[in-house]
Amino acid sequence: MATKARSAEGSQDTTGDGVRRRDFLNVAAVSFAGVGTVAALAPLIVQMSPSADVLALASTEVDISKVQPGQGIKISWRKQPVFVRNLTPKEIAEANAVPLSELRDPQSLAERTKPGKPNWLITLGVCTHLGCVPLGIGEGENRGPYGGYFCPCHGSMYDTAARIRQGPAPKNLEVPDYKFTSPTTVEIGAKG
């Protein structure tokens, strides 16, 4: 309002549309300071993201030659547990017998393993509910009614392809990026 009142007095620095040079300078100066402040926030935000030393642990090699059918091992990748399981033919058959339409997060065993290696089921050992480590990879642990994994925190049950079947978890156990660097070595975290 004050702007209008003053420009009505006919001051010389008013352009045709009623905007004074001073208004323009004010807006430009405050905008410049605003953009600068936002830019100064950027380092404060990015410092929270995983640092180089954390990212350096992005891949890890596992020797799987000693894992017999029916056994599994738990390894640590990016400080998270990874389950490497050598499925028995019976477990593979059980996983393949389930119609995809019955699944909460439909995926076939073939989609969750590498071509030609349907017995090597490699998943994160992190329940997709709230991040507990499910039981079932160790010898004699409770595998739940579907023979895969059982999460003790809130009772999520996974089948032999580590797919969610019952309980609060929304997704199957996540399959990380990995590749076979040799028939008995897996590099977890590597694309391929």
Binding site: K79, G131, C132, C151, P152
Partner: protein
Amino acid sequence: MSFSWAKPYEPKHPAMKWLDERLPIPRLVYGATGPGYPVPRNLNFFWNFGVLAAIFLGIQIITGIVLAMHFYATTDGAFNSVNQLIMRDVNAGWLLRYAHMNGASFFFLVTYIHIFRGLYYGSYKPPRELVWMLGLVIYLLMMATGFMGYVLPWGQMSYWGAQVITGFFSAFPIVGEPIRIWLLGGYAPDQAALTRFFSLHYLLPFVIAAVVILHIWALHIPGSGNPTGVDVKDEKDTLPFHPFYTAKDGWFAAVVLLVYALVTFYAPNYLGHPDNYIPANPLATPAHIVPEWYFWPFYAILRSFTIGFILPAKLWGVLAMFGSILLLFFLPWLDKSPVRSGNYRPVFKRFFWLLVIDVIILGYVGGAPLNWWRTALGQAASAYYFLHFLVILPLVSAFETPDPLPNSITDSVLHGETAEAAPAGKRRASRGSVATAG
């Protein structure tokens, strides 16, 4: 101050006069907690809990600063610095640690009583809406501080608490997982998370202290409420804060600190979990993970969603848990009844006690291992919690006929004995009974 009869500050000592003219801090203290702050004369013991919360905040800040001098914020040093260095080697370290650990529980306990006091006596109603909302901000900050402090000893419960609570964020679609990784500075809780939690755990109590100042400032504009909910009318309805309420607060603080000392010395681990004396192991989750007791009701709400509809169950749980606190910000507009105090609201009073029972049930379910009937009980109690605030309160405030209110605070206290109703210090006879009526 708000009331015209509040005594102005008149420094007697020349040094105080000198200071007051340059930096009026004595005037501020006098007006906030001294004779310059008139308080309703009829406050009951539920009005002591705000001061108690401030006392426990002070205890937490003092013990916390000292503990930080001995704590190592590293993943391989944190557990031992707490359980070996502080608990065994540092002189009086065990006392400071147990005092801090149980101080957190007592801080939450007195704050919960303080909040339920406000719910019963309508302390959230005009003109004190901002007092209420600032209090909720303090409570949210307390929850964040308490959670991050629990992570610091880096035991099993610390670690898995951090994993589960940061996991809440992964419930949000698309942005959730990147936010979780950003908050943790990694893919799972690790050094980066521990260090930043330590930094924030040290910072937030001072933020709480700042909001407490705003909370008290906002309170001192209309002045304290009282159990009748009737506004202060004149001087004989009030007593000066000092010496009346300083004495009462001091006496009650001594009682509560005695209980605090009993727990700290004789049952220091009663409220904790034995699993937190096992060092953090990122590869194995304890069989039964629960948060500290003061989060149990919210944990029960979180777990009560087992089936997804439209949104996944996990997201519903997280939204409901945050929503259960956020809806309290709208309480002044959900309960429109002009009568503040539950004492004069016969229907409201019954539902208030049902809510208390409901929250206790939620607390029980949240702390116990899940089975089918506890899940069902938790679901019913969660539903009732929201029903209370979103349906019952608005309906009760619309249809209830309140009981008649007393004419004034003095009337309600003295039951018609008007002879005793002269302002404090101006009594004719030395009866002495008015002074103790507060």
